[in-house]
């Protein structure tokens, strides 16, 4: 499987999260991460109302093969969690930048983020 190009309208962390900076902002993991993990079978996400901190671990993404920690790209309050992805985590593999989004956050502060070009530079296809 070849990772799809990171969408240019998103921002990225070195730990393979993406951020769609709206209000609220949407967070997911990249196709690079989803492909490396293999079939994702379990998501552990924060709950609505949780305060998250940029750069801190806020959950886990588990596949048959391995497990990866989920880092928050931003600080703020979780306002929505993608229950459809929790119920069927395979959507994170099939559509990581779309239906496989993970959570929405009311952002108070942004962490260190990369452009699509910078992220692609660190993760050549």
């Amino acid at each position: 499987m070849t990772a799809v190009e990171p969408p240019v309208h998103l921002q990225y962390t070195v730990e393979h999260e993406w951020l769609d900076s709206g209000s609220p902002a949407t967070v997911g993991i990249t196709s690079v991460a989803a492909d490396a993990l293999g079939d994702i079978v379990y998501l552990e996400l924060p709950t609505v109302g949780d305060e998250v901190t940029a750069g801190a671990v806020i959950g886990e993404v588990e596949s048959t093969k391995s497990v990866s920690e989920l880092f928050s790209p931003v600080s703020g309050t979780v306002v929505e969690v993608n229950q459809a992805a929790v119920d069927d985590p395979s959507v994170v593999n099939s559509d990581p930048y779309g239906a496989g989004w993970l959570l929405r956050v009311d952002v108070t502060e942004t962490g260190t983020l990369l452009s699509a070009e910078e992220y692609a530079g660190l993760n050549p296809a």
Partner: protein
């Protein structure tokens, strides 16, 4: 993702096939091998419901020939190799003098003075060195055929149909009558080859040992005839989850130099009763240590753990009988695709090894409840 070390790795004779199939390659035991082609779950499920095609060309094939071949292996391995019937196979181990496992092996008895020893890729060098050392003074040739040999496995309930459809130079009734843990020499592309009914997935299946140069032709033929029957190429990731469900030990996880066969619940492979032509017990490397181990109370037991939550235990995680009370260590763990819950194997203290015992595994700082269950987790319907 790219990996700088991958370019140092050896390539299978099927490397181009894997690339053409779009495989995700991984560095494994010094080889660049397919991790998956499409999806771990799809490949795993195909093996349980139809069939999977595996490239195992990284494994080590060592041919032992000569008048002393049987007696040599009886002294070098813990099993009774000379008692393997002609064209039979046996799961066995090679141990160090202290009883520690150097590797687990499958030995095929090919001809009266000829055996094939198959070892794990990661243990190619230590197994070959131990066999060569133990052959000193005997009329036997230890011939490393690993580089010249490819190993292709078809595993799954439809494996027999697929092998029959492949049109190899064996009569259909010979293939059908081949028993589990037995083998048949045949000719493939004009060269000697071996068909064995063995495998490592918990399913019925066949393994083809062919000349490395012939592997791509065999691979493509099996895929062509097998695809309509549900055969898919399957990678190392599916292989690991399949063997774990089947409760099969993996060297480096359940077995290593600090582990005896008895620790792993495999004391039965140690043939303490094997006798030679003179009727006397056969000395073999590790015998004294393993006799003592067999007579002693175990200090740890390999058990199966069923995860009661959703987070899977993984290799190296502590097993707990209460807060901060470590009673063991997980050797392998994963979410079971077939069973739908996490499973793991672990070494635990004998006091907590009984089936039904409730324990916890420390999954990255949080206790996850597990229950001790019988191995294997999965047994194929017959």
């Amino acid at each position: 993702m790219t990996d700088a070390t991958i370019t140092q790795d050896r390539r299978s004779p099927l490397h181009d096939e894997h690339v053409a199939l779009g495989a995700t390659l991984t560095s494994f035991a010094g080889w660049q091998m397919p991790l998956r082609y499409t999806s771990d779950l799809a490949e795993h499920t195909a093996v349980r419901t139809a069939a999977g095609l595996f490239d195992l060309s990284h494994m080590a094939e060592i041919v032992v020939t000569g008048p002393d071949a049987g007696a040599f292996l009886d002294g070098a391995l813990v099993g009774h190799a000379s008692a393997i019937r002609l064209l039979g196979a046996k799961y066995t181990m090679i141990c160090a003098p202290d009883g520690g496992v150097i590797d687990d092996l499958v030995v095929y008895h090919l001809a009266p003075e000829r055996y094939l020893v198959v070892a794990n890729a990661s243990n190619h060098d230590p197994v070959l060195a131990a066999l060569q050392e133990r052959a000193a003074g005997l009329d036997v040739v230890v011939d490393d055929q690993s580089a010249a040999t490819a190993l292709v496995a078809v595993q799954g309930p439809r494996a027999l149909e697929i092998v029959l459809a492949a049109g190899i130079e064996l009569a259909d009734d010979e293939v059908t009558a081949l028993k589990y843990y037995a083998c048949l020499p045949f000719t493939f592309a004009g060269r000697p080859a071996l068909l064995a009914r063995t495998g490592y997935t918990g399913e019925d299946g066949f393994e083809f040992y062919v000349a490395a140069d012939d592997a791509p032709v065999l691979w493509r033929r099996l895929l062509e005839v097998g695809a309509p029957l549900g055969l898919v190429p399957a990678g190392l990731s599916a292989r690991d989850s399949l063997r774990l469900e089947a409760g099969m030990p993996l060297y480096g996880n359940e077995l290593d130099r600090t582990t005896t066969p008895h620790d792993a619940g495999l004391g039965r492979v140690v043939a303490l009763g094997k006798t030679g032509a003179d009727g006397l017990p056969v000395p073999f490397v590790g015998r004294e240590a393993l006799e003592a181990r067999a007579a002693a109370e175990p200090t740890r037991v390999l058990v199966g753990l069923q995860g009661l939550g959703r987070r899977a235990a993984r290799h190296g995680y502590p097993v707990l009988a209460g807060p901060d009370q470590v009673v063991g260590t997980v050797t392998s763990g994963a979410p079971s695709p077939t069973l739908g819950h996490p499973i793991a194997m672990a070494y635990v203290h004998p006091s907590v090894a009984a089936e039904g015992t409730q324990l916890d595994v420390d999954v990255r700082g949080r206790p996850e409840p597990v229950r001790v269950v019988a191995l294997p987790f999965y047994r194929r319907p017959r």
